[in-house]
């Protein structure tokens, strides 16, 4: 009788251990690969940018003005223009590049592709693609010319290149998600944009 009780006890302990091993194994098996919602920031600055030689020369001056807005935000030189290079479409090729193309009536003014590894969250490349289907307005154009302000567009896109996302509530912010025709307010950074940079740790 005592032997039987002991056997039962041992069987119970054994079952418990077996269950423990199975449950531990089940918990440990990965259910899916995980990703972060957004990328982090740049590991080092300045971020060197090239502009595709296929683009209109006037875009270069607008890009440099946009770059100055971020560089004078109090975080040192964040972006640096490195010259022209041939590139037709945005691609992950080791160069932060501004490309141009008539991407049609997909209505995007521009798209910034941020590439990062999920493990570190560090942005490794940013490419800006400008949809020349739209009419852009340059600083040298007369006030009568109507179009989307190229400098404002670049200022917004460079914010993404540094790791900032779209802003949905602060309509005055450079990072506000949409832009109107002839609107120039995105040229100057809003306190919300600067707070964003600070929060990213620049």
């Amino acid at each position: 009788m005592t032997k039987l009780r002991k056997n039962k006890k041992i069987a119970k302990i054994f079952s418990f251990m077996l269950c423990f091993a199975i449950i531990s194994t089940l918990f440990a098996i990965p259910s899916s690969a995980y990703t972060f919602e957004t990328g982090g920031k740049r590991q080092s600055t300045p971020v060197y940018f090239y502009i595709a030689s296929q683009g209109d020369n006037r875009f270069v001056a607008e890009f440099q003005s946009a770059m100055s807005a971020w560089n004078s935000a109090g975080f040192g030189t964040l972006i640096q223009y490195s010259g022209r290079r041939s590139a037709l479409v945005p691609s992950y090729d080791g160069y932060n590049t501004v490309t141009f193309g008539n991407r049609g009536a997909t209505v995007a003014l521009a798209v910034t592709n941020i590439t990062y590894y999920t493990g570190t969250g560090v942005i490794v490349e940013s490419d800006i693609d400008v949809n020349t289907y739209n009419t852009f307005k340059f600083s040298t154009d007369s006030a009568l010319v109507s179009g989307y302000d190229a400098q404002s567009m670049f200022t917004h896109e460079l914010g993404h290149a540094l790791g900032l996302g779209e802003e949905y509530s602060e309509t005055e912010a450079t990072m506000y998600y949409s832009m109107g025709m002839n609107e120039t307010k995105k040229r100057s950074l809003h306190s919300d944009d600067i707070s964003g940079l600070s929060a990213l740790g620049y």
Binding site: I10, A21, A33, N102, T106, V107, V111, N113, T115, Y117
Partner: protein, 189 residues
């Protein structure tokens, strides 16, 4: 009984070792996996767009229901009218056409292609691209995809092209937080 007693500690040690090994392997696996997931996150700057423009720049307007999605793959994108494009990760959503509001659409079911998804260790993300859940009933503003000859279409104004069903006459866009009425669209045609 004595044998069982002798074996018991052995089993205990073995099960603990197995558990630790699996947890460690899992940690390494996740670490390895996460370090190798390359994410491209698109941020799209959109112009301010009115309902008139949305209607005018959409070849088709329809009410449909999502039947499911296909496995992501590489396909041409940019939806350019000029034919300029490049390959990127895309996901196709199968949509059952319930009612066509604008355009001559003969197909009962169509594909909406979106530039998001995962192929291998590469992920493409974009908040402004349309996504659908199964059985989701929506109002859609779309254009024919330039690069696909089949019944493949693109949202004409990214996420601004998709309105969720409230009633048969009212639809809501969660991205912009606005509601539109079907009658308002019909009056613009």
């Amino acid at each position: 009984m004595v044998k069982v007693k002798k074996i018991l500690p052995f089993f205990l040690v073995i099960s603990i070792i197995i558990s630790i090994a699996v947890v460690y392997w899992n940690y390494q696996f996740k670490k390895f996996d996460s370090e190798n997931m390359l994410v491209t996150e698109q941020h799209i700057l959109m112009p301010n767009y009115s309902l008139d423009e949305l209607v005018a720049n959409s070849q088709y307007i329809l009410i449909g229901k999502c039947l499911g999605k296909e496995i992501s793959k590489y396909a041409m994108t940019s939806n350019s009218m000029t034919g300029e494009g490049y390959e990127t990760i895309t996901t196709d959503f199968n949509i059952d056409v319930i009612r066509v509001i604008k355009g001559n659409l003969d197909d009962n079911s169509i594909v909406i292609r979106s530039d998001i998804g995962q192929v291998g260790n590469k992920i493409s993300k974009c908040k402004e691209q349309v996504e659908f859940s199964d059985e989701e009933k929506v109002l859609l503003f779309i254009n024919k995809d330039t690069f696909e000859s089949d019944n493949c279409y693109r949202a004409s104004f990214f996420i601004g092209s998709k309105y969720d069903f409230i009633t048969e006459d009212e639809y809501y866009n969660s991205y912009f937080g606005n509601t539109i009425k079907l009658d308002d669209i019909i009056s613009l045609l």
